[in-house]
Amino acid sequence: MITRLLSRLPRKRALPRSLGLAVCLSACLAVWACSGPGSRPGATSTLPVAGGAARVGATATPHPFTYVALGASDAYGIGTDDPQADNWPTVLALQLGVGTHLVNLGVPGTTLKQALTAQLPVAVDAHPDVVTVWLAVNDLLAGVPLATYTQELDSAVATLRDRTGARVYVGNVPDLALLPRLSGVSPTELGAQIARWNQTIAGVCTAHGAHVVDLFTDWSELAAHPEYVSTDGFHPSTVGAQRLAAIFAAAIRQTPAK
């Protein structure tokens, strides 16, 4: 039932897979063209990261602390006033400290399967200290079977943990029913679906020593803050991106490097 419902939705990955990246990139650029310079609040406070320089398995790198963001359009900054500066990984990197080197691999419209081949190799090669992964919403809306997703997520987290030793933070699926664009979907069915996905995400993270960033819980404040969502009714706005960065920052702060 939920699959049928979702199939009628204006899904984020409504275009053929081969076009997804380019179209979203184009859309992003178009949004960029329309947006002004915008303010960049939230870029001031910084979060000291303990053990930033202690990296496991890193080879020689000129960067003292590398943070890699695997993600989709939100990581790219779609929905914000200035995608280049206001995307949430950039805001988070500023909070991680002055010496943080960010590699933002967010590609609009991407699914986890695409990220496994397009983003994961780059992330591993960057020898990161911290990795954030938020690649679930596109898969859920695209109707990717949970089993397939689980397998892919397992592969991604395992690779990151085993080959880089970085601390990995995986964002789960927020309450999508709060998004204006998905207002036509039955909240109950969607909630049940999200719960199953989040349970799986939590399981994979536990298995590999990664950390879940519980966006379902923390992002529920969206109901009281409509300004967190951009005018497209789906992507985080500039303020929303700051809040997202704060949620990830809090998660990182709670789990300092060993």
Partner: protein, 1102 residues
């Protein structure tokens, strides 16, 4: 050319010129004796008269030449626009993005409605189909992007006037259903002849092909320059399945192709009442002419700048000639004054003489200028002929009138000014040829009192009263009051209107006023102190103080003005002032002010400046006296030296500026072989992909008799739509950059010269070996470097990457015949999604600002001279697929902006492309053996690969077509620069020869004292050399500063010229050497004349 149109200024100039001549005639009628005395000198010495007329005519010649060149280019540009559009003046189409079909009968009602208009000569409903693929089966050639035209010839008038190459009419009605006409452009590309069999392919009839026979090759009528074929209208309607429909109605105006444009507005207004609501009129030819004229504007601006400078140089020369003329006759004029003539009479006398020269000079100057213009056009014509630019000398009558009147008036005013200044003389000193004593000093109160007293007597002595008030006014100027007030007023006005020129002139006046006021104040204080302390000795002390103050104030005023005008034009904005605006005239005034400021600071102190030279020459034995005298004359006659120095500095200055603009234009436009990267032919299969080099060789065969017999090297390139990330970059995120998978000679570096190698690679060959054999190793063009990195490698960066480069092949990208996307898309075997993808990316990257923000920029990769650190990139095909790791091991030189991209081997990109459909098209490049004919080779290749639809393009032809007018511009500018230098030399020779006559007595005295001929000649040569060296140094330095300012504010970018500053050091060195040699050469004749002066005659000379 000028901002005011020629029509507007011609009549006022004629009225002014007639008035000036009438006033002169009236004055001559009132005082005929003065006219007789003045004009008597004109016919006395013919050689001298000829030299003076030559000098005077230069300014007129410059104006006439510029107007002639401008008229010629304007007409040529308009003709090109007309040539491109055929005889179509108005095009009636349906509203909407693509032309919609409508009923052909509407054409009849349009023709009926316009039938009563005498300004309409023909109406033709027409059906157009763009982007046809045409294959000549007989010649085995293919060409894409051809437009098929079918039109109703019944009421077409000149629109149906198709002609063969022999001028024979080729009516459209004569075409049989299986026949067509080719226009000249497509016939040349297909090597087609009448009788050939042509097959037409189109996206409108996929999977089908239609055969026709070429009836003839035609021009004129509805057929313009772009590739087109003409079919019978019913046949084309049948092919497109649109019986009775058309999508255009063409209208031809009366007159010829060019003059008919004048009726376009009237015809359009008339059509508005006739046309149904879904149709509208486009005045295509009027728009085309406007666009072409606007494109020519950049050339007009450069020419205007040159004309301003040249005119000014000419006027300065006139001034100098007249100052020398008066100096030569100083004693004679002193006698005339002693006999009772007033200063005004002397001025009038000189003016009559000058007017005699002026009238002759203006007439000859116009003819000379037209001759020079013709010469410039003739010099560049051979180059232009290659691109089919219809260049024929053309001069509008009003241009002749403008040149004559401008020359006459400017020369007359300059002569009057020179005569007025030179006639100020003390009679006794003039008669004895002694230096002019300093003018008597009087304080302001005394002058004012005198003026008030004489005002009471104005009825009886009007000239005295006028002179007294003039002295008061002069005192107000020299004390700085007037300049300060005028400067403040100008600057205040300019702040309101944001006029850069007004503000800068105001500020200059304030500088002058402030220094003059300081000088006046300081001298007043010093004078008071000296009078109190030194008593009688105060006079000489005050004179010394005045001299010192004059020197200091000249340095301060001249230096400050030169410095201010040398500042970048947006310098004031950095200090919080608004950004001022201005046109080309700002740069002209800036140039003149810079030169004058420098000379103003230098000339009064030239004796001090030359003192070290004198000390250095002390040890030269006997010749030191010669050298010392050579230095004394310029130091003594500072005003004249200053004028001469200004003249020569300006000549060098203009030469340097023009050389830099020419080099910049040449770099941008005139580098066909470099833009083609050494390749001669570009080709692409339009039917079926060939599949790579091996398949190409297999298809063509390698035998000496095959199509590759004349080919030296072959390369292939396939553009790929890639996203790139540089993980180590400061802002590491996915970005865009053109990527090309290359093979063949490209992988040996042919056409991709390296500007830098990664550490660990001993040679370019090692880099290319890595690119060939190490999957992942790539090179990238220099446009990807951040500015600091490019500067560290001393690399000249091209213009930023543009949208065209993402879908184009790496070499000669952007040429219409090579990157014809529509044709590609129509014939592409790629899935439709790929075409959508192209469109999506094109939309996103078509905004230069967005593209610039998202373009890859490599920072901090340079580690030494010509060396970079191997740089890791990751790339993904935007259509999907895995990321691949790339390692940049070399930087490709891309100064000409024709080699954008990341270049790697097929093995490098294979993992990313696995499972993806081919993207875009394969491009093949052929380098033809030396001496072989590229066109014939291209024809052979196209013929051999006809089954693949192998469209070949001769790169040189395509590049010339694309950049032809710009090439023309660069050539003309070079011609003007050379001409300026030559004229400057001539001017120096004229002034040098006048100086000999003036100094005849002095020469005789030196000869009597024992100086030999050689010594005299040496003195003249050295004096000239001094002016030459100083003028060259000033001109070079200031010219470079002006060029930097000109390009720093992107003045030419307003016209989308794409010009970036290039300093042609070797050419500048040549200009400097030529200028110094010119100064010596120019003094050879005067020196020779001086050496021939007999001492006894010279001493008696008066």
């Amino acid at each position: 050319m000028f901002t005011t149109s020629g029509q507007n200024i011609a009549w006022p100039l004629v009225v002014d010129a007639v008035a000036a001549v009438a006033i002169l005639a009236l004055l001559a009628w009132r005082a005929p004796y003065l006219a007789r005395i003045g004009l008597r000198n004109v016919g006395r010495r013919r050689l001298r008269t000829a030299l003076i007329i030559f000098g005077l005519m230069l300014s007129t010649s410059f104006v006439a030449m510029s107007l002639a060149v401008d008229d010629t280019v304007t007409l040529a540009v308009k003709t090109v626009a007309v040539f491109n559009l055929g005889r179509v003046d108005e095009d009636i189409v349906a509203h909407g993005w693509a032309p919609q079909m409508f009923d052909a009968h509407i054409g009849d009602s349009v023709a009926n409605a316009l039938g009563t208009t005498p300004h309409v000569a023909g109406v033709a409903p027409a059906l157009l189909t763009p982007n046809m693929l045409v294959a000549d089966e007989t010649q085995r050639q293919v060409h894409g992007g051809v437009t098929a035209i079918g039109f109703d010839p019944s009421r077409a008038g000149p629109l149906g006037d198709l002609r063969t190459a022999r001028g024979v009419p080729a009516p459209a009605g004569a075409l049989a259903p299986n026949q067509l006409y080719l226009n000249r452009g497509v016939a040349q590309l297909l090597f087609a002849r009448p009788g050939d069999t042509i097959t037409l392919y189109s996206e409108h009839w996929p999977g089908k092909r239609y055969r026709f026979t070429v009836r003839d090759i035609v021009t004129g009528g509805v057929v313009g320059d772009p590739s087109a074929i003409v079919l019978p209208l019913p046949v084309l309607q049948q092919l497109l399945d649109v019986a009775g429909k058309v999508n255009h109605i063409y209208v031809a105006n009366a007159g010829d192709g060019l003059t008919g444009v004048g009726y376009s507005d009237e015809v359009r207004e008339r059509l508005e009442d006739v046309l149904p609501g879904e149709l509208h009129t486009i005045t295509v030819k009027q728009n085309g002419v406007r666009f072409a004229t606007a494109a020519e504007d950049i050339f007009g601006r450069i020419l205007t700048l040159f004309t301003f400078f040249a005119l000014f140089i000419g006027l300065l020369l006139i001034f100098l000639i007249f100052v020398l003329l008066v100096a030569e006759r100083r004693a004679e004029l002193g006698v005339v004054r002693a006999l009772g003539l007033r200063r005004a009479h002397v001025v009038r006398m000189l003016l009559f003489e000058g007017a005699g020269y002026d009238l002759a000079a203006a007439a000859i100057g116009v003819l000379g200028g037209l001759g020079l213009g013709t010469l410039v056009v003739a010099l560049v014509s051979p180059t232009i002929a290659r691109i089919g630019f219809p260049l024929q000398i053309s001069v509008e009558p009003q241009s002749v009138v403008i040149a004559f009147c401008l020359g006459l008036l400017f020369t007359l005013v300059t002569i009057w000014l020179a005569a007025w200044m030179a006639s100020r003389m003390t009679i006794a000193a003039a008669m004895r040829d002694l230096p002019e004593p300093p003018p008597p000093r009087a304080d302001f109160a005394t002058l004012l009192g005198s003026a008030l007293r004489t005002s009471g007597d104005v009825g009886r002595e009007p000239t005295s009263a006028l002179a007294a008030w003039a002295r008061v006014a002069a005192a107000l100027v020299t004390s700085g009051v007037v300049p300060l007030v005028a400067g403040w007023w100008l600057a205040r006005q300019a702040i309101g209107s944001l006029n850069a020129l007004e503000f800068s002139l105001g500020l200059s006046c304030i500088i002058i006023g402030a220094v003059l006021a300081l000088r006046t104040l300081a001298l007043a204080v010093v004078g008071r102190v000296l009078r109190r302390r030194a008593g009688l000795g105060s006079v000489s002390a005050l004179a010394r103080a005045t001299g010192l103050a004059d020197r200091l104030s000249a340095v301060l005023m001249g230096g400050a003005i030169a410095l201010y005008w040398s500042l970048p034009f947006d310098a004031l904005a950095r200090f919080g002032l608004s950004r001022f605006t201005g046109g080309i005239e700002v740069f002209f005034v800036a140039g003149v002010m810079m030169v004058f400021g420098t000379v103003w600071a230098l000339a009064p102190n030239i004796d001090l400046a030359l003192r070290p030279v004198g000390w250095a020459l002390e040890g030269l034995g006997r010749l030191r006296h010669v050298l010392r005298i050579a230095l004394v004359y310029p130091a003594h006659h500072r005003f004249r030296t200053g004028i001469g120095l200004s003249l020569f500095s300006l000549v060098c200055f203009v030469s340097v500026v023009m050389a830099c603009i020419a080099a910049s234009a040449t770099q941008s436009f005139d580098t066909i072989p470099e833009q083609a990267a050494g390749y001669d032919i570009a080709a692409q299969p339009l039917f079926t992909p060939i599949g790579g080099l091996a398949q190409l060789h297999a298809a063509l065969g390698n035998g000496a008799s095959g199509a590759l017999a004349n080919v030296d090297a072959i390369s292939t390139a396939t553009p790929l739509p890639f996203g790139i990330v540089e993980p180590d970059a400061t802002d590491a995120r996915w970005r865009l950059y053109p990527v090309s998978q290359v093979n063949g000679a490209f992988l040996d570096g042919v056409g991709l010269p390296l500007a830098a190698r990664a550490t660990g690679y001993a040679s370019d060959a090692a880099v290319w070996h890595a690119v060939r054999s190490q999957p992942g190793d790539v090179v990238i063009d220099a446009a990807a470097l951040a500015p600091d990195d490019a500067a560290a490698l001393a690399i000249q960066q091209p213009r930023p990457v543009s949208a065209a480069q993402f879908i184009a092949p790496p070499v000669a990208a952007g040429l219409p015949t090579i990157t014809n996307l529509q044709t590609q898309n129509a014939q592409s075997k790629s899935p439709a999604a790929a075409n959508d993808l192209l469109a999506q990316i094109a939309v996103a990257i078509n905004d230069p600002d967005i593209l610039a923000q998202n373009t890859l920029s490599l920072q901090h990769v340079v580690v030494g001279a010509g060396t970079i650190a191997p740089t890791t990139l990751w790339g993904i095909d935007l259509r999907g697929g895995p990321a691949i790791k790339l390692r940049v091991v070399g930087i490709v030189n891309n100064a000409r902006g024709q080699r954008f991209g990341i270049f790697g081997s097929p093995a490098t990109f294979a993992p990313a492309e696995a499972g993806l459909a081919p993207f875009g098209n394969e491009y093949y490049y052929f380098k033809v053996r030396s001496g072989a004919d590229a066109r014939e080779t291209a024809r052979g290749l196209g013929s051999a690969l006809m089954d693949h639809g192998f469209e070949t393009t001769v790169l040189q032809d395509a590049l010339l077509n694309a950049t032809g007018p710009s090439v023309f511009i660069s050539r003309v500018i070079v011609g003007l620069a050379i001409l300026t230098l030559l004229v400057g030399m001539a001017a120096l020779a004229v002034t040098g020869s006048r100086a000999v006559i003036e100094r005849r007595q002095q020469i005789g005295m030196l000869r009597a004292l024992g100086f030999r001929r050689l010594h005299i000649q040496l003195i003249f040569l050295l004096e000239s050399l001094l002016v030459g060296v100083a003028g060259t140094a000033i001109g070079l330095t200031l010219g470079l500063i002006l060029c930097r300012n000109l390009f720093a504010v992107d003045f030419f970018e307003r016209f989308r010229s794409g010009l970036t500053l290039v300093v042609p050091w070797s050419e500048l060195a040549a200009i400097c050497v030529a200028a110094v040699c010119a100064s010596l050469l120019a003094s050879v004749l005067p020196a020779w004349q001086a050496g021939r002066v007999a001492p006894a005659d010279a001493i008696r000379f008066e």
